[in-house]
């Protein structure tokens, strides 16, 4: 039945060329939702630090938000290795931009558009970078928040989320987000979203980071945990009414 398993590595044939085997057909280590919002002074973003190997919580301290140059902040969900590869692209981009040393610099809008082109080009080669990205930033007093996914679909909004966040966090944000949130209010709102995600998304872990970007620059805060309450009756003995044979 499983005879093929012990055969030699896949042979070259018409149906499987070497390039095929180097494409991401499914992700290996993935991060779950990222949530980003605009607030009074800039952009706030939150992401937990879990890295799932399929359904196993394999890594527990993965940083999924990074600064990109002076004016941008990127957060990613999806394949972690692809995100880290993408960060290398962005490093090159920013380095090249800085080398001009001419007083011009790429702002969040430019970086977002660049990402959009990279993601879309890779999907056109049937070799996508398996990520959903949120990019936020402030430049010259203008706040920017945009997203792009693995097939190149992209848009801007006042608040954004990837993955489960789209289903669970954005309805909350649509109700409660407003233009002039203070930093404290913004963090509270993000924590509310992250708590819902923590309860409902099995891939989420209770170790999260918050990052902010303002005209002054990027700050990624130290990881911390949210207070949770699991003492609901249904949680205490989840197998009540569904007893197994052993």
């Amino acid at each position: 039945m499983m005879k093929e398993n012990n055969s030699a590595p896949a042979k070259m044939n018409l149906l499987l060329s070497p390039e095929d085997s180097q494409r991401t057909l499914s992700p290996y280590v993935t991060g779950t939702s990222v949530v980003g919002i605009k607030y009074k002074d800039g952009i706030l973003m939150a992401a937990d630090m879990g890295g799932s190997y399929g359904s196993t919580l394999r890594y527990k301290s993965v940083e999924r938000m990074k600064s990109v140059g002076k004016h941008s902040l990127i957060g990613a969900s999806g394949e972690i290795s692809d995100f880290q590869e993408l960060l290398r692209y962005l490093d090159d981009l920013i380095l090249y931009d800085n080398m001009w040393d001419d007083g011009n610099s790429l702002g969040p809008k430019e970086v977002h558009n660049y990402l959009t082109r990279v993601m879309y080009n890779r999907r056109n080669k049937f070799d996508p970078l398996w990520s959903s990205l949120v990019l936020g930033g402030v430049k010259n007093g203008k706040k920017y928040l945009g997203t792009v996914n693995m097939i190149g679909v992209h848009y801007e909004d006042d608040h954004l989320a990837t993955g489960f966040g789209n289903h669970l966090a954005r309805p909350i944000l649509r109700d409660e987000w407003k233009e002039d949130l203070s930093f404290e209010e913004g963090v509270k709102l993000l924590e509310k979203c992250m708590r819902v995600l923590l309860y409902r998304d099995r891939s989420a872990v209770n170790k999260l980071q918050i990052a902010k970007i303002t005209e002054e620059g990027v700050k990624v805060y130290d990881p911390y945990s949210l207070k949770t309450f699991w003492n609901f009756k249904a949680f205490q003995n989840p197998t009540v009414g569904a007893e197994g044979s052993w």
């Binding site: 007083g103 011009n104 809008k109 430019e110 558009n113 660049y114 082109r117 010259n140």
Partner: protein, 275 residues
């Protein structure tokens, strides 16, 4: 004295450390009809003198739009100028495609200069025979650059090139300190005065010059003939006479050769077919 031996190809040095072919290319710039440029904090104005090659022909177009935020004025071989402005246009379009932002002027100028430099170091190429005045606006403000066939480039407050440009240069040198805070209208006025200097007594009309402007909130555009004529009339009516600059004697006040700058549509706003 070494000319004859060392001027037949671009890649051979003269013992005096000169590349004659490159210098000849720069000579072509001096022989082209004049082009000038000047800038304030917010605006850049480009101007050119139009010379028809014969009574029967129209003059060539010497000012090109590269993008909403960049324009060039050229002097020398117009054909080379067109090739380079096409290159600049496509660079702008490509940058716009990748970043949805406009290409910083300084960066385009460096790319352009690098392109010109390559031609001074390849045996099978010839240097571009054209000087470009690149005016542009980006996040660091308004800029004016001069690009040379040698691959050198310089940033200027105001500049003039081409035949009899020395007179215009003298005018600009005397007034450049006022340009930084100048208004759009005064900048245009100074451009016309500077252009008039290069005509040396010939009458300045909207037929013999082209003006273009770009600035904050104003995309690059060539001013139409009526507007230019109206400005000229206004100055003449007001009796404003620019102080005549010393007649700077200058190399290559020669009339253009047959290859330099001929025949192109007059009106910038209509297609060749519409003329």
């Amino acid at each position: 004295m070494f000319r004859k031996q060392y001027d037949t190809d671009v890649t051979t040095w003269s013992p005096a450390g000169r590349l004659f072919q490159v210098e000849y290319a720069m000579e072509a710039v001096k022989q082209g009809s004049a082009a000038i440029g000047l800038r304030s904090k917010t605006h850049v104005v480009l101007g050119s003198v139009n010379k028809a090659n014969s009574e029967l022909s129209s003059h060539q177009k010497k000012i090109f739009k590269v993008d909403d935020h960049i324009g060039v004025a050229i002097a020398g071989l117009t054909a080379d100028g067109r090739v380079l402005s096409r290159y600049m246009r496509s660079e702008c379009i490509n940058y716009e495609y990748s970043y949805e932002a406009s290409l910083p002027v300084g960066r385009l100028v460096v790319q352009l200069a690098d392109k010109a430099q390559v031609c001074t170091q390849r045996s099978w190429k010839r240097p571009y025979g054209v000087g470009l005045l690149v005016g542009g606006l980006d996040e660091s403000g308004a800029h004016l650059y001069y690009n040379c066939p040698s691959g050198n480039y310089f940033e200027y407050q105001a500049f003039a090139m081409g035949s009899r440009s020395q007179a215009a240069k003298t005018y600009l040198e005397r007034k450049y300190e006022t340009f930084v805070d100048s208004t759009r209208e005064n900048l245009l006025k100074d451009a016309l005065f500077a252009l008039r200097e290069t005509l040396q007594g010939e009458k300045l009309t909207s037929f013999t010059c082209t003006l273009a402007i770009l600035g904050v909130g104003e995309a690059f555009h060539v001013l139409d003939q009526q507007t230019v004529q109206a400005m000229i009339n206004e100055f003449e009516l007001a009796g404003e006479d620019a102080p005549t600059a010393e007649e700077g004697d200058q190399a290559g006040g020669v009339e253009e050769g047959a290859a330099v700058e001929q025949g192109a549509p007059l009106d910038q706003d209509v297609t060749p077919m519409d003329l």
